[in-house]
Each structure stands twice: as structure tokens, then as C-alpha cells.
């Protein structure tokens, strides 16, 4: 000890305190073990179940990938459910995100009441999707719903639908609140991203005489590439795994018209006891989320490189 320099002595003490296996175990194992046993292990188990014909009680017959093949060849409902989830993703990316981005661009420029607007847009985000679902069920109610009352008020009787029990409108009626609820969420992510862009760029643009519109297109949006990627991944994976709101509003009905893979899987598992087949649907959702997130990251890689080059 006596021959050591001060720094070496410090390193020695720190290593003795922070390198002890016993302490490390006490600090990390409670969280890690819980997570492995009740988080990761169930996920892997679902992957294993997906390869079997299994009803939860009887014996398990190994099927290989047959459950997955069945999803696309024999299942009458899965392809439509998958299509629905992609419609939701499309609406999210092409309707919700642009609205959020425009709002963020306007707000970040600094308008009067900026904070109040931000606060208001974000309110639906903190509300339970059960409440949002129930509320929009009332809005779409065929007799006393706000929407049909409004349509009657305008005298456009032809457009009066039983929104949630009509197969051709049920799914779209669940898309609307999904989009509505998270506009403020994406707006805030964009807003935080815009605020973190150095003001130097805007100074330069102003001196060059650029209009607000030009500045947004040429500077803000390219520099936002990483944030845009995050929002796209969220919008996409959120739509592919959608469950709560649709479960509350229609539970996939009428006659599976508004099903998404999440609700279909849930009913297969817990109503019909199709443990193997339902697990294949659950695991399919995991796989498509991972693969599509990866693809989006690759697409954005070039844009991000450009952003860091500016």
C-alpha cells in the first residue's frame, strides 16, 4: 500500500468496493432474475409453443413451421387482420406523423401560447386506452352518438351508419381514435428534436434570405432524420402490435372485420384455447416488428449520414 501513488491507491479502493462479486450480485440480480424468469423466458416459451399443436392440457405434437404456413394458407381471418394492421400503420405514418410534424414545426418557431398548446395536445396520451375506447364507442354510437347526431343535424341521412357494427366501417372507426390519441405524443418527440437543432443553421438560412417553408424543408426536416426514424418505428410497431383500443371498441368484430393480429391472437389463446396456433400469431408479431424496424433503420441510415454531414 505505502509504495503506491495516490491515483493507484484510489483505483485500488474503488475496485475493491465496486468490483466485489457479492455486491454486484446484490445490486443487479433482483432486477435481472425477475426479468429473465418472467420476461425473457415466457417470450422464448411462446416461440417454442408456436412450433407445436398444443391445447394447454393434452400432449404436444411437433409441427415445425406448419402453424406459420397455416397463417397464410388456411386461416380465413389472419390475412385480413394483418392487412388491417398495415392500414393502421399506414394511417399512422401518412396521416398522424405529418400532422404531428406540422404542429411541432409551428410550435417550435415560438408562437403565443406555445406551452398551452403543447399541454393540450398531449392530454389524450396520458389517458387509459380503455377510457379512450369507451369514449369513442359513445361517439360512434348509432342512435345517440355525437357523430350521427352531427350528421343528422347536417341533414345528410345517407351517411348515418352503425359505425362499429357495420363490417365496412368498424375497422376505420377504430383507426380514428388510435390516430387521435397519439398525435400529441409524436408532436412532442418532433418538438424536442427541433428544439435541439443548433440555432446557427437558422441564422445562416435567414441571412441567405430563406423563407420559413424553405428552412423547414431544407434544414429542419433533414436534420430531424434520426427523430423521424424513431417516430416511424414507434408508429409502425405500435400499429402491428395494436390491441387495447380495438379490443375495447369491437374486439375484432363484427365477424372479424376489425381484427388485427393482436386481437385475433388473444381470442385464439384465451377463448378458443389454441395455445400452439395462437402462439405462432403472437410470435409472428414479434418477428415482423423486429424485421420491419430493422428495415426502417436501414432506409434511414443514408438520411442520417446526410444529417450528420450538414
Amino acid at each position: 500500500m505505502f509504495g503506491l501513488h495516490k491515483n493507484e491507491r484510489l483505483d485500488y479502493i474503488m475496485d475493491r468496493m465496486l468490483g466485489k462479486k457479492r455486491y454486484i450480485a446484490v445490486f443487479v440480480l433482483p432486477a435481472l432474475l425477475l426479468f429473465l424468469v418472467f420476461g425473457i423466458a415466457p417470450l422464448i416459451t411462446t416461440g417454442v409453443y408456436s412450433l407445436f399443436d398444443y391445447d394447454g392440457i393434452g400432449k404436444m405434437d411437433f409441427l415445425g413451421l406448419n402453424n406459420y404456413i397455416k397463417l397464410f394458407t388456411e386461416d380465413r381471418y389472419f390475412p385480413r387482420a394483418l392487412k388491417n394492421s398495415f392500414v393502421l400503420a399506414g394511417a399512422s405514418i401518412f396521416i398522424q406523423l405529418p400532422i404531428s410534424l406540422v404542429l411541432a414545426l409551428i410550435l417550435a418557431k415560438g408562437v403565443k401560447g406555445e406551452k398551452a398548446f403543447r399541454t393540450i395536445y398531449f392530454i389524450p396520451v396520458v389517458i387509459s386506452s380503455m377510457v379512450i375506447g369507451q369514449l369513442w364507442m359513445k361517439i360512434f354510437h348509432s342512435e345517440y352518438g355525437l357523430l350521427n347526431i352531427f350528421i343528422r343535424f347536417l341533414g345528410m341521412k345517407d351517411f348515418e351508419y352503425s359505425w362499429l357494427s357495420n363490417p365496412s366501417t368498424a375497422f376505420i372507426s377504430t383507426v380514428v381514435p388510435s390516430i387521435w390519441q397519439y398525435i400529441g405524443y409524436h408532436m412532442l418527440i418532433f418538438y424536442a428534436g427541433i428544439k435541439s437543432i443548433s440555432t446557427d443553421y437558422y441564422e445562416a438560412a435567414r441571412i441567405d434570405g430563406a423563407t420559413n417553408w424553405q428552412t423547414a424543408i431544407k434544414i429542419t426536416i433533414p436534420l430531424l432524420a434520426p427523430v423521424l426514424k424513431t417516430c416511424m418505428v414507434f408508429a409502425l410497431t405500435g400499429s402491428l402490435r395494436a390491441f387495447d383500443l380495438i379490443y375495447v371498441m369491437t374486439n375484432g368484430g363484427p365477424n372479424h372485420a376489425s381484427d388485427v393480429p393482436g386481437t385475433l391472437m388473444y381470442n385464439n389463446l384465451f377463448r378458443k384455447g389454441l395455445y400452439g396456433y395462437g402462439s405462432a400469431q403472437a410470435f409472428f408479431i414479434v418477428l415482423e416488428c423486429i424485421i420491419l424496424s430493422f428495415i426502417i433503420s436501414r432506409i434511414f441510415k443514408k438520411a442520417e449520414d446526410n444529417a450528420s454531414a450538414i
Binding site: 465496486l18 418472467f38 389517458i127 359513445k138 424513431t230
Partner: protein
Amino acid sequence: MTKKIKKTSLYIILVLIALTQLFPLYWLLSFSLKSNIEIFGQNVIGLPQDWRWGNYVRAFTTGGIFQYFFNSVFYSAVTVAVTGLLSAMAGYALTRMHWKLRTLVFGVFTLGIMIPTQAALLPLFQVLDKLGLKGGYMGLLIPYVVFAIPMSIMILTGFYKGIPKEMEEAAYIDGCGVFHCFGIIILPIIKPALATASIFTFLGTWNELMFANTLVDSDKYRTLPVGIMSFAGQYSTDWGLIGAGMVIATLPTILIYFMLSNQVQESLVAGAVKG
């Protein structure tokens, strides 16, 4: 002149969207205070003519909402406390302690953020059932804590990395033990990050629907979202009563949001930026 027109039109966009976001919520609040006669025809969108606070009294007394409310408070409080402590400890080990598997373990937790919880639901259901925990408080608390930990760790490790090491070093040189140092020095420093993580955990737990709907089968352990959902099915024609239940289920999150709107916004976006 054109500049003024442009500014006004931007303002109109902002106000229109704000109204779209607020109006359904205003409508909920207003019908929770009305009788069916007003809701179904006389006075659909106006303020209540006759303020029926009785809807709230009935919701609390008839629907068993009081029990659900208590349960939701209990689940949320325990989940926030346990998740906070476990993630603060794990976060400390992941950023400050010296061990080899650090990066790997961190990677495992990161993975947790991306798992859709549905994909773990069935095996979780079976395990909790085998352990005899399904259908009780523990049967729901375990999944809540488990799936709150990854994001909480993510928020906390980000913060830990920004804390200078000098304070701990001084403490350890003075002969302070690891647990003592963690409790006396570290926990007070990470308070703001812990608050951010706690808000995130609270909102997720309070609003959670799927686990609560699947893993609980009796009124005694039911949470508000599931309780109100079955309540809405049972009294489907009594909109005032259902509205009151929905407002009761929403009030705590809205109150916290209005009191701490900056922190709440920050904490939900922290999830996006770090994830």
C-alpha cells in the same frame, strides 16, 4: 399584410387541432354530469342544465368502483416503488461497478423495451398459475414490475453516466461501504431521474389493460380499467353513470399531468429518445 394572414392561418390550424383533442374529453366530462334525458336528445353538447353529481355517488356506491380504485392505487404505488428501487440498484451496477458481463446484461434489458407484451402473455399466465399467484395481488404486481424495469433502467443509466465520480470516490476513501454510499449519496443525486422513471411507470401501470384483464378473475383484485369496462357493459344504457366511472378512472393521471406537465411530457418522451 400577407405575413399577418399567414400567421393567422397557422394559428387557426393550432386552435382547430386543439379543439379536436379537447372536445371529446369535454363531452365525456359533460355527459358524466347529465341525465339520460339530456344526453339522448335535449342537450347533447351543452353544459349540464341540471348538474347530476349523483352519477358520481352512484358510481362509487353501486359499481364496486371504490374497490377497483383502491386496487389501482395499490398496484401503481407498489410497482413504482419496487421498480424504482430495483432499477436504481441495477442501474448503479450497470454503470459504476466493474464486471465483465455488463454490456451483455444491458443489452438484455434493452431488448425488453422492444418485446410486445402480448408475446409473453400465455406462458406468464401459466407460470403464475403454477406458482399459485394468478388471481391475487402478486399475480399482477410481478408482470407490472418486470415490464416496467427495462425502461426505468434505460432512463436511470442515462442519468448515472452524467454524474461525476468524485463524490463517490471521496466517500469510499473515507471508508464508506457500498450500501451506505448508495443510500446516502447516490439515491439523493438520482432523484430527478427517479422521478422521471416513476412517472413513466405510474402511467403505464395505472392505464394497463391486457394483463389486468387476463390475470385477474375476481372483483376483489380487479383494476379500474377492467372494472370500468365490465361496468360499462353491465349498465350500458346509463351513460351518465359510465361517464362518471370513466372520469374517476382518468382523474388521477390528469391531475398529475396538470401538476407536473413538464415532467410528464419529459418522462414519456425520454422513453422515445432513449429507446
